[in-house]
Amino acid sequence: MHDTIEAHGAGATTPAPAPPPKTSALRRLGRALAPLPWIGPAVILIAAVVLWPVIEMVRTSVLRISSSGATLGTRGTGNYRDLFDESDLVSVLLRTVVWVVGVVLVTIVVSLALGQLLNARFPGRRIVRWAVIVPWAASVLMTALTWKWMLNYYYGVVNKVLQGVGIIDHPVNWLSHPAQAMMWMMWVAVFVSLPFTSFVILAGLQTIPEDVYEAARVDGAGRARTYFRITLPLLRPSLLVAAIINVINVFNSFPIIYAMTGGGPGSKTDTSTTFMYKLAFTGSGDVGESAAMAVVNFALILILVLVYLRVVGWRGEAQS
C-alpha cells in the first residue's frame, strides 16, 4: 500500500514515487489491485443501482414500451417526437423555469436573514435552531399534505386566518386555480428548502473570523457597509454551493406538486418532473415517452452538476 510519508499533497495523478527499478510486473499489478477490496463494493453498488438506471433510462427512451411494461421493439426518435408534440410541453418547461428560479431565489434571500438570526446571540437560540430544522427532518410529502389541508376551501385554517386579518373577505379555493396553487406550492417548496439553506449560510458565517469585523469597525465601516463589503463576499462559496444544490433539489421536487394538486387541473401546475411521472404512470401510460422526458431532465441536471463541480473547485485531485 503506502510506504512513503512525503506522498502528502502529491495529487492522485502522480502515484507514490515508484520504488527502484526492480518492481516486478506482479507487484505492480498487486499494487494496482490493492484498493479494490476497500472501494470495490462502493463502486459496484453505485454502478449497479445509480448508474445502471441512467443507461436503462436512455435505452428506454428509444424503445417502444407497451402500457403493461413489455418491450415491443425499438422506436428510434419516435418517443422524442411524441414528447415534443405534446401541446403542454412548452408551458410545462416554462413553468419549471419559473418554479426553480423563483423558489431558489426566495429561499436564498430569506435564508441570508435566517442565517444571521440563527448566528446572533439571544436566549433560546438553540430552540429556534431546532424549530427551523423540523421541516428538514420531516417527510416533504407529509409537510405538503398539511399545507394542502390548511389550504382547504371549507375547513382550512389559511382562509380563516386571512379572513380574520381582513386580507380576503370570503374563503378562496386556493388549490383549484392554477396561478394561486402555483404560488402556494412555491411557498411550500421554499418552506422545506429554508432549513438546509440557512444552515449552510450559518456554517459559512461561523467560518468568518471575528477580527475581520473588528478591523472593519476600527476603519469606521457602518453596519450595512460591513455586511455588503465583508460578510456577503466571504459567504460567496457557501451561497454558491447552497444555490446549486437547491436548484437540483427544487428541480427534482416531486411530492409537493404531486400531493397538493397532482399537477392539475390537466397539467396546468405540472413541472417537468411531475409531467414525466404522469406520462409513464397515469392514463394510458407511455413509459418510452416518459423516458424521453427523463433524458431531457437529466441532461439539464448534468449541466448543473458540471457547474457545481466548477464551483467546488474540483481539479481532478483529492479534496482536503
Partner: protein, 293 residues
Amino acid sequence: MSGRSTPRPKDRQGAGDGAFVRRAKVAILAGVGYLVAFVFIAPYLEMALTALKPDRELTKSPTTFLPKHWDFANFVNVWKAAPIWKNMQVSLIVAAVATLIALAVALPAAYYTARNRFRGRGAFLLLVLVTQMFAPTALVIGIYREMVALNLTDTLLGLILVNAAFNLPFCVWILHGYFSSIPKALEEAAYLDGAGKIKALTRVTLPLSLPGLVTAVIYTFIGAWNEYVVALTITSSPDRQPLTVAVPGFVTSYQQHWQYLFATSLIAIVPVVILFVFIERYLIGGLTAGSVK
C-alpha cells in the same frame, strides 16, 4: 451580527443606557427568533391539532383552531383503521438495512481514500461527488425499468438497494472528510504502542470520527425513512409499502380521514426530528467542510 456583546465606545456614556439598549436589542432578536420558530412549527402544530379532532369537527365550517373535544383515541384507533403497523415495519426495515449497507460499504472506501494515494483515487472521488447530485426522482423511470428487469418490483430488497446506493455517496463523502482530518500520526503513535492496524482503527480513528459516523447514519436513515417516489413507483401491495406511500391513502375520493392521516404522519415525523436534533451541531461542521447536500 447585532447580538455581539463587545461593548462599543459610545456605550460608555451612560452605563445604564448602553445596557438598556443592548438588552432591548437582545429582546427584539429573541422575539423575532421565537416568531420564526413558530412559523416553522405551525404546520406540524396544525397536524397535531387536526389529529386530535373527532371526525365531525373536521368537516365543520368555519373551522376552529383547537379541537372542542380532544379525541386522543385517534392515536389508538388509527392502528385499527389501516395496517399502518405493517407499513411502519416496512419503513423501519428498509431504512435500517439500507443504512447498515451504506455504512458498511462507505466506511472502508472512505478510510482507504483518506489514508492512501493510489491510481484511480481521483476518479473514485469524482464518481462519489457526481452521484451525490443524482436524485432517485430524476432516475425513477430507469430505476423502475431496472427493478422490472431484476424482478425486484414490490420487494423490500429493491427499496433497500435503492436507498442504500443513493445515500452511499453522501456517507463516503462525509466520512472521507472526517478521516482526512485525523492526523495519520495518531495512528502511527498507536502502532508504536504496539497496536495493530485494526486496533489502531477501532481504538483511535473510529472514536475520533464518531460525529461523522453518527451524522452519516442519521442522515441516511432519515433519507430512507422519508423516501417517497421510488416506493410509490415500485411497490404495489399495501403490506410492502412504507409509511410515506400508505399515509395518503387515508384521504381518497372514498374516505376522508384527515385525523388518521396526520396522526400517522406525526408518528412518522416526531422520532426522526428528535434524531435530527442530535446531529444539528455536527451538521454545521459537516456543511462547512465543503460540498455536502
